[in-house]
């Protein structure tokens, strides 16, 4: 039995090892080497790249990235929870609604982000319409700021919040909601004392699925945030392209991974203690 299980796991383990562990080892190696003039990484070995991470400039970018990811996750939760609840209780229609939630995946994320640019820019649909209606004199600065980045992230990752939330809410016994009302709880009290605690696994899973890609997001901040809003994804990408500093890029990537890992460990510990 155990041998069968081991053989079944072997392909997965192999794929994970080659596609995950080996690149990770390469990254770690790069982060300890010295930059070359045209990219790449060369001896001698050094810790300098890691020391640069402590530079307030980079710490600030990392902090801002965490803040943007947290705000985006919170907004996804606030928007996703009612939506997931609605879908879970929609009866026979719920499969239709689920398809609608994942419908955006049918087109490329890049194309959809460009679509947002066309909507938000100074000569975009929204500004043109408001100008034409005479509601504004000058175009509103909708694009190239943190608001636009967060909008894009929320738009892009909302389904990752809705799906796990839906999965837990759908299993919630409706009799529990009736029991709560029967015992005098008003709808919001039922939400707070029964629905929210019982959907914690979904809230946790959804928040991680949104927070992690938001933290490392590159495309959305780059396209919707422009040059004024450097986040850690853009910073890393820059090291491998324009700045040609692969070792520092590698160190930055590992730094972001460390933040995510620390967060995950914290969550798992609290989960084991039954806090969340």
């Amino acid at each position: 039995m155990n041998r069968v299980r081991a053989w079944c796991l072997a392909p997965t383990a192999g794929v994970l090892a080659t596609l995950f562990l080996i690149p990770l080892a390469i990254l770690l190696g790069y982060a300890l080497l010295t930059r070359g003039a045209y990219g790449g990484a060369f001896p001698p070995w050094t810790f300098e790249n890691w020391q640069r991470l402590a530079d307030p400039l980079y710490l600030g970018i990392l902090g801002r990235s965490v803040a943007v990811a947290l705000v985006s996750t919170a907004i996804c939760l606030v928007l996703g929870f009612p939506l997931a609840l609605f879908i879970a209780r929609a009866g026979r229609r719920k499969h239709l609604y689920l398809y609608l939630v994942i419908l955006p995946f049918w087109t490329s994320f890049l194309v959809r982000t460009y679509a947002w640019m066309f909507l938000l820019r100074d000569t975009g649909l929204i500004n043109e319409a408001l100008l034409a209606l005479g509601l504004i004199e000058e175009p509103l600065p909708l694009l190239y700021n943190y608001g636009a980045v967060i909008l894009g992230l929320v738009y892009g990752y909302l389904p990752f919040m809705v799906l796990p939330l839906y999965a837990t809410l759908e299993r919630l016994d409706p009799a529990l909601l009736e029991a709560a009302a029967d015992l005098g709880a008003r709808p919001w009290q039922t939400l707070r004392r029964v629905v929210a605690p019982l959907s914690m696994p979904g809230i946790r899973a959804g928040s991680l699925l949104v927070f992690i890609p938001c933290l490392g997001a590159y495309l959305t901040p780059d396209l919707l945030g422009g040059g004024k809003t450097i986040l850690v994804g853009t910073l890393i990408q820059n090291q491998f392209t324009n700045a040609r500093d692969w070792p520092f890029g590698a160190a930055l990537s590992l730094g972001v991974m460390a933040v995510v890992m620390a967060l995950l460990m914290g969550l798992i510990r609290r989960q084991d203690e039954g806090v969340l």
Binding site: D173, E178, A179, A180, A181, D182, L183, G184, A185, L198
Partner: protein
Amino acid sequence: MGNVLELNRLTKHFREQVALESLDLTIPEGEFFSLLGPSGCGKTTTLRLIAGFEEPTEGEVWLRGRRLNGLRPYERNVSTVFQSYALFPHLTARENIEFGLRHRAGGWRADAPQRVRAVMEMLQIADKAERKPAQLSGGEKQRVALARSLVVEPDVLLLDEPLSALDPNLRKQVRAELKALQRRVGITFLFITHDQEEALSLSDRIAVLNAGRLEQVGTPQDLYLRPKTRFAAGFLGPVNWINGVGVRPEATRVMHERPSEEVRALPATVENAVFLGNCIHVEARLATGEQVVAEVSRLNGTFRHGEQVHVWWREADELAL
């Protein structure tokens, strides 16, 4: 004291499906009242209309002189023991019981902890207070569910087949305790069951429902001895239908000799005698072709397949429909 609960031509349709049709009931203060009927007859629907989980298609629900129509469940001073108990899985037994005291009108009062402790002691679950529902046995869950609903002191406690999830031995024991509990707390119980024995043994009065309509209301004796419809007669226990007259098996006798002139008697042939320990079921076929079952004591002699006997009963024991 007056009536606590009044149902007035209460009707519920689900699209074309008639779940309940013009039900009239009045339940006085402190009564143990049962709704009895087969599966799908509208028992749960009635209860849900009273609790406010459904709105009636027509008719009214009155609780202590207050019309409940349109009020939300949390605005009604009734409380439900659900068939599956519906305990909150993330809360301990004690927190489940406290839930109503925290959210009902009046909120968490100074005497709340004592009330919680008292109800847990009464139901003998005080030592399980800090357990989650998943760590409780079926019987313990049922007690927590009862405690949770009782502690808020509802005007009427609604119980939807609360014993059906228990195993048969426990069921008999809990049944006896439930009756004692109701006497002790004095709260009006509206108890749903499809088990006639449960209804007969627990209730002050019973309403028999059939396909969404009320068949009869009365005391257990009324319903068992003086049923008004064939359905009520048959649902409360087995009946021998002899020339259109109903006689209960325990009122039906058999003997080898010819009985006296004062009683009603018919000749019959024994088809089977089933030994049940405390009694014998003699199955006999009348000359008319009808089969009757007589529940007789083993002290009344032995009966064998093919024997010619006389089936007899007293006129007073006939069910007058």
